[in-house]
Amino acid sequence: MLIKNGLVYDPLNGIEGEKMDIFVKDGKIVESGDGGETIDASGFVVLPGGVDIHSHVVGSKVNLGRLMRPEDHRKDPVPKTEITRSGVGYTVPTTYITGYRYALMGYTTVMEAAVPPLGARHAHEELNDIPMVDKGAFILMGSNHFVMKYVAEGDLEKLKNFVGWLLKATKGYAIKLVNPGGVENWKWGRNVNSLDDKVENYGVTPREIVRSLAKVNEELGLPHSIHVHCNNLGSPGNSSTLIETVGSIGAEMGGPGSGESTNETLKGTAERIHITHIQFNSYGGEDWATISSAAEEVAKTLNKKKNATCDLGQVIFDDATTMTADGPWQHKLYKLTGNKWYNSDVEMEVGAGIVPYTFKPKSLVNAVQWMIGLEVALLVEDPWRVVLTTDHPNGGPFYHYPKVIAWLMSKKAREETLGKIHKSALSRSTLPSIEREYSLYEMAIVTRAGPAKLLGLKNKGHLGVGADADIAIYEFKENDIEGSFSRAKYVIKDGEVVVKDGRIVKEHWGRTFLVNPKGELMDEMKEEFSKYYTVSLDNYPVQPEYLPRCEVVPCR
């Protein structure tokens, strides 16, 4: 296949809007080609396929979200076609519709951000029903019994063994922490309020859990960093918790960041931390009445700490379904809104909560939240350390990403929305005074090159020789940025045209990414497992049958 005359943006290879040809063979990008299909991309921009570093698309919690929202589904039924299956969309799309909608906007890789180990088999079943994209699963560990036990004992060797084993047993990709320690306390109806609060019965603190897992993550050489949903998420004044969390990891390094220096830093063995949906943890003020943006401070911290990265969790003014493993936060949100509330605690490991929510421009709090996400994105200097997400479906559904792209690339687009939000919000954030507009190149970094790099997916996020042929081609219109990125002209997945003129033309089945770190379950762990779990250890690891198409990503 030949993609001819397109304007190529490929930040990982330093290509910024060059007219060039791209050759594809056997699902990979190759040096040169000999015939096959030719796509005339004249007048179009050619980008690597999008990479979503954090989304909630499958598993027990997402499916409870679907289950509890029939009123939502009715607003967005999706009929079957000759090529595609039916389903529903709106805030918690069904598996097939999830795959199609990602593909339609040119996204070809999606990471499920929160899988409870005991529910991993379920998550993989659903992943196998998401067409079009490649995928992976982050495994929840921040309130895991064995993790906290070995952190308490200060035994990093055992911790490493357990974590490595758990990633293999669950066929996971990365270590996820959600309100570390707080989720265990929620099992008694309580929470932690700071990095130094104690987890009941274990005596450990969130700070110790985060630091230990960060260390173990690097010693195992995992491709991604630890992926952290901080304590105190959602609460006014919580930026201090975020800043302390970032500060607790590794040492300060490096000079002011260019893309290159950052890439270098990320290659080293220094401990890294990824703060997810940073918007939800960048609040100033003391309560809901005084809530303000702490984005400036947060961005300052990130500008200094080169080992820290983030994704946005941008808020969209629309319906959302909030769902996190942060049980106590979801309970608080239920109390705040009076909306329906699902809670689901998982033995020995984690919990989850789900509450429907609507972000309204005329709500002061929501308006401030909307500003913060964009503000962080525009104030953090190095785009390689910022990833575009909405924490789907928490800040809003993923198919609104093109809206976020428009806000990042156009001050005018921001001003239009600023004109509609609660007036008192305007003085609580620096967003109105920010001039910066992302270039197409920077946009390509925060939606594909950057997240691929942070995930350690060497064949994703770029169009160099050897990369997976996941390519998105758009007709870019300056005056309709949102429209330009909502429906790709062409999407090529593993070398096949799967989207043409904004329609799915072929159903494709992607692979699941796994890691294979060191780590074995020790006898004492086995003994304790059989005492306190209600399933046999034999039946716990996810069997190979659940990974019909997978690829092991090597450790570093």
């Binding site: 499958v58 589904h73 009929p79 039916s86 329906k340």
Partner: protein, 425 residues
Amino acid sequence: MGEVYKNVVCPFCGCLCDDLEVVVENGKVVSTKNACPISKTKFLDHSKDRAKPQVRKDGKLIEVSMEEAINKAAQILKESEFPLIYGLSSTESDAQRLAVELAEFIGGSIDSTASTCHGPTIVAAQGCGAVKCTLGEVKNRADLVIFWGCNPAEAHIRHSVRYSVTPQGMYVRGKKERFIVHVDVRETRTSRMADMFVKVEPGKDYELLSALRAVIKGYEVGDVAGVPAEMIKQLAERMKGCRFGIIFFGMGLTMSSGKHMNIDAALRLVRDLNDHTKFTITPMRGHFNVAGAGEVLTWITGYPFAVNFSRGYPNYNPGEFSAVDLLFRGECDAALILASDPVAHFPIGASQHLAKIPTVVIDPKVSLTSLIAEVVIPCAIAGIESEGTAYRMDGVPLRLRKVVDSPYPTDREILEGILRRMKGC
């Protein structure tokens, strides 16, 4: 000595015990360990009463080849204007996925046995959510366990031993550290393991649940639903004062008058209790993978049961698209029954319509429904003769094992065969 399989998952009830030992000799299960009497019988009798491929000719079921039976099934579904697919709860999730695909392909309705047991539970949870947990949380933490309108001592035999009454958990060790309550219209064997039995007047569960809510919110109540005021107060105090409480409930609550309103009251009661302590609630699901049917339907269609595809996209409406209602109104003109025996459970009017229309039955065993069928397709027994995923009553997914070979193909293979034939022509 035969072959010994350890930690086999039991494919019979929603407890999904996964510690069974099964011994196989000459392709037959000869003994089991850890299995409860229900499970043991099912394992030992796996080769008894097997169905045969049959097609009704001149009013009589005649044995035919598998090929002919599957062909005939495809033909029936193809000629039908408004087919119904029903059952799903006693097979594994891949077969359930294919059943949904088939329903979508033919533009019919699909419903699981949930609509006649815990359908109201789902409807109530869609209204207000639910506070749930996995069974290990109960084992490790629950110091107050309430069985409401259910009889685990007879229907979920090992529930009490493995999860809820006697196990040695991390923070709660054995029965002496747990307080067990049984609420029901009459005493059963479950009452015998309880520390407190609350006898509620039939059909008055909603009133009793509401009274408990009121007391917990600080109101005074008198005698309600035949339960003395003092007892209600006592129970409410226990609920507020425990460290970790759970209500397990069954069809005594979902199928008595009030139905989903009963569950709504129970779910809200538990929600309120979380202002005071940790409290959770879990339905006692009957068939071993009825929970899985809900999961699969939900991730593919957005809806857990009673789904209709006649518009090309999924529509959900219990009462309209639930099997019993469709049959009662005589709306569907063909049916495919998979992994369940509706004639044994449905009201007579619904069963009569099933007998009137061409009905295809896929079942490993001879069932009442297979006797009225137009086509009978025997299949392997999921969890004994074929692998697959099942979801426990609390949503924990486990992999079923295959311990013996089957003379018949799996549900999955049969459904694939039907789909292939329908798509092919």
